[in-house]
């Protein structure tokens, strides 16, 4: 900025400082190929893993084996856990309960899908551990408690949810934003499920529930970003900047919010995973926390690197914005726009850039009005600086198309 402009804003020398002060100039749109590429890779890996090895379904989905071990001689849940551990069966996804009726007391041990011989083999071991005769340990196969019906109902709910969200977003924003937000959400589902398949994490009802939460979270995140985009659209529609500029400036403006939100969402979940599941050894917690962590990370990523660039693609040729022939501002010109919250027209941008001596080529700008180099008070830069402190011009009402 020129020195004559009131209230000069110096750009922080450190990256952190720039981020914190809203002075970043990251060209998200120019780098969209990286985001799309990474996502494409993840999706391919996810689908491949799903089709090759599928999901590791827990007892509630796939059924399993159940032993009823009499607790008459003081057999406890901990003993049962030891027996499972000795046989290399993970207690994660297993369910152990003490049950008692009028006549008996026993420990019920349920584990996910295991070959039939495991049932018989462990029956003997449980009997030995409990000090009872092998006949007194009941073995039976357990069905899924989470039947196809539950899954169907959840899927149906999801489909209806997506349709309603699409309608709502189309009204509140526009249909292109709805499409971009929902594609980003579906991307999150595929990638999150893919990660579960790839690492063979066990899928339990908590996992499914966590994934359902993530869908809402993913959309939530995207809506906040899009809200800013729409606000900038409305403010600068009259000046017809390239749409990529609108997106880039909006993204840089909400970058810190996205980072902060991700940190404050992920830290409690990480704590659940590391302290709750790790230090306290509560395996049940890890089922949730893992799914949430994966979902949140993917959701935060997709709202920035999928939803917004996708919106750019959908609106690239819209007549309301300058077409693709104008290169989006990058580097200091972009930073300037972010800092001043002013996207402006091509002309002021080019002028501002030339004033600072950036080598941003923008042929269409000089044709209209040769930009003055220097820091005279009447240079566009100074004028812009002054206007940045006043209220923004009221946007012209857009015609509904």
């Amino acid at each position: 900025m020129s020195d004559t402009a009131p209230n000069p804003v110096a750009i922080s020398p450190t990256a952190l400082g720039r981020a914190v002060n809203g002075q970043t100039a990251i060209d998200f749109i120019g780098r969209r190929k990286w985001g799309f590429g990474a996502s494409l890779l993840l999706i391919v890996i996810s689908i491949a893993s799903l089709s090759i090895q599928g999901l590791n379904l827990g007892i509630d989905f796939a059924g399993g084996v159940s032993w009823d071990v009499p607790a008459t001689n003081g057999f406890t849940i901990d003993d049962a856990e030891d027996v499972l551990a000795d046989n290399g069966l993970s207690t994660e996804g297993a369910r152990l309960q003490e049950r008692s009726s009028d006549s008996t007391e026993f420990v019920k041990v349920q584990v996910g899908d295991q070959p039939a011989e495991v049932g018989a083999e462990l029956r003997q071991q449980f009997a030995d551990a409990a000090g009872v005769d092998v006949d007194e340990v009941n073995v039976s196969l357990v069905s899924a408690s989470w039947g196809a019906e539950v899954t169907e109902s959840a899927v149906r709910a999801l489909v209806i949810f997506v349709i309603l969200v699409a309608i709502y977003l189309s009204f509140r924003f526009e249909w292109r934003m709805a499409v971009a937000a929902i594609v980003a959400m579906l991307h999150d589902v595929v990638v999150a499920v893919g990660i579960y398949s790839l690492f063979q994490f066990i899928v339990t009802p908590p996992t499914v529930i966590a994934f359902l939460t993530i869908l809402g979270y993913s959309l939530y995140d995207t809506v906040v970003v899009f809200d800013r985009v729409r606000e900038n659209e409305a403010r600068f529609a009259a000046q017809k900047p390239p749409y990529a500029d609108v997106l880039n400036v909006s993204m840089n403006q909400v970058l810190m919010r996205s980072l902060n939100t991700s940190i404050s969402s992920i830290v409690p979940v990480l704590s659940l995973l590391i302290i709750g599941a790790g230090v306290f050894g509560q395996a049940t917690l890890s089922e949730f926390a893992l799914a949430l962590l994966i979902g949140m990370a993917v959701g935060a990523y997709s709202s920035i690197f999928i939803a917004v660039p996708l919106l750019g693609l959908l609106k690239a040729n819209s007549s309301a914005w300058e077409g693709r022939n104008v290169p989006p501002a990058v580097g200091e010109a972009l930073r300037d726009m972010v800092v001043r919250g002013d996207i402006g027209s091509r002309r002021t941008r080019a002028a501002a850039a030339t004033a600072r001596g950036d080598d941003v080529t923008d042929e269409s700008a000089d044709a209209a009005e040769p930009a003055s180099v220097g820091t005279t008070p009447d240079s566009p830069t100074a004028k812009e600086a002054q206007s940045a402190l006043k209220h923004q011009p009221r946007p012209r009402k857009k015609k509904r198309r």
Partner: protein
């Protein structure tokens, strides 16, 4: 915008929440805990025939779950184990209550009515005398049509010309069976002289409508002098579908929690540590503004606790580990509400506005964003709650609760707090001390 009104809004809100919390603690009420945290009672159902197939049992499992949910027992865990169906009920304390909740026998059959004027049934010909709901007795003939002729969950009540009618769809295979019976009764043949067809549940005649057409195209309308309640209970009978096999309650067991107090404690402790870490970060970042966040979160937590207590007492939806983690997730979304607002504040002040001027503008601008974003969360919660079953339903409920609390606290507490903060001397008009505007070149 009058400071007095802002103070009033904030203090009244905090006062109400605080008072309710004190009442709650005094009465020792807390959210009811689910199966995984508190255990419950389990009812073991066994088929009374030898040849129950796995398919039959799975069918029974789904019927039992539906029925429990329709009677308000939330989040039962129902599964087939060996040849039995095991029904775990959260929050049920004694055997009698459990047995009553799982009284889910229910063979629905359709039998032609011979006479309701007394007489003795010819048992050899498969006739039997069955009681009606209003205490009479009718003799009904044999039939092999059961409730399976109806499409499950298709029955509904309707008000047609001022009278309650029950409408139900016929399944593809059921249509022929039903129509064969209906033709018999319509024509008043010897098998069905009264032209009435009885709908029998567990050997009690629920309704004996007169058949008025020999041919039903895919659905049946039953009209009579029903009260609304009668119509609804008949619809329930038709909706429960027919149990393919008769189930007998074998025994009741008490169940220890699978995750239990340890897991809940671990969740709470690690959750609190996580929140504390988040708040430390927020304090470093937002400096004095963090006062608003901490206060807001405390008020929010109290509100969530109150609502959760109330809802779980009123609806049977117990607080499970799923709910606990759901609440921990929503912390992030709640904090996000503040972040969206504060980032906006920083933007506005950076562009040269004073803090006192920027605060109301920022709130107005971000309130719309917060509403839109939270509306989506609320929508997902509502849809999941309406359309799904079991634990998903309970979880959706808690997501909804936390979202609503977020909005309430944002409007009644955060708004006045931020506006008052922005004018206070404590805020120092948004200088470095608040993290709103960092001194140039120094990372905040």
């Amino acid at each position: 915008m009058n400071p007095k009104r802002l103070w009033a809004s904030m203090l009244i809100f905090v006062g109400v929440v605080g008072a309710l919390l004190v009442v709650n603690i005094a009465r020792d009420e807390h959210p009811a805990l689910g199966l995984d945290l508190e255990g419950g009672v389990s009812v073991i159902l066994a088929p009374d025939t030898e040849d129950a197939t796995g398919e039959d049992l799975s069918f029974v499992r789904d019927l039992v779950r539906d029925q429990l949910e329709s009677t308000g027992i939330a989040e039962p865990d129902v599964r087939v184990e060996g040849a039995n169906v095991i029904v775990d009920l959260p929050g049920v304390r004694d055997q009698a209550e459990a047995l009553e909740a799982v009284s889910v026998s229910g063979i629905v059959s359709l039998r032609p009515v011979l006479t309701c004027a007394g007489g003795t049934p010819d048992e050899a010909a498969g006739q039997s005398a069955l009681p009606t709901l209003d205490g009479g007795t009718c003799i009904v003939g044999p039939s092999d049509a059961t409730g399976e002729v109806f499409v499950r969950k298709s029955a509904g009540v309707d008000l047609v010309q001022g009278r309650w009618v029950v409408a139900v769809d016929l399944s593809n295979t059921g249509q022929n069976q039903w129509n064969a019976l209906a033709t018999q009764c319509y024509n008043g043949t010897a098998a069905c002289p009264t032209t009435q067809l009885a709908i029998v549940l567990d050997d009690v005649i629920q309704s004996a409508p007169v058949v008025q057409t020999p041919n039903f195209p895919g659905s049946v309308q039953i009209s009579g002098s029903f009260t609304e309640d009668e119509a609804r209970s008949l619809a329930d009978v038709l909706n429960r579908g027919a149990f393919p096999i008769q189930m007998v309650q074998e025994r009741v067991e008490t169940v220890s929690p699978t995750a239990g107090q340890d897991a809940l404690n671990a969740a709470i402790i690690s959750g609190l540590i996580g929140v504390a870490l988040t708040l430390v970060y927020m304090t470093v970042y937002y400096r004095r503004l963090a006062v608003v966040i901490v206060a807001g979160l405390v008020v929010w937590a109290a509100t969530v606790y109150l609502l959760a207590t109330y809802v779980s007492q009123a609806t049977n939806y117990a607080f499970t580990l799923a709910g606990a983690t759901g609440v921990i997730v929503s912390i992030g979304i709640t904090v996000d509400t503040y972040i969206v607002l504060f980032e906006r504040l920083r933007d506005e002040t950076r562009q040269g506005r004073s803090l006192a001027n920027a605060a109301p503008r920022s709130f107005d601008a971000t309130w719309k964003t917060i509403l839109a974003a939270n509306f989506i969360g609320l929508m997902s919660a509502l849809i999941l709650f309406w359309l799904s079953v079991g634990s998903v339903k309970g979880f959706a409920l808690y997501v909804g609760i936390t979202t609503i609390c977020d909005l309430i606290v944002c409007w009644f507490f955060i708004r006045p707090a931020v506006l008052l903060f922005s004018r206070s001397r404590f805020a120092n008009n948004g200088r470095a001390a608040t993290g709103v505007t960092a001194p140039v070149g120094v990372p905040a």
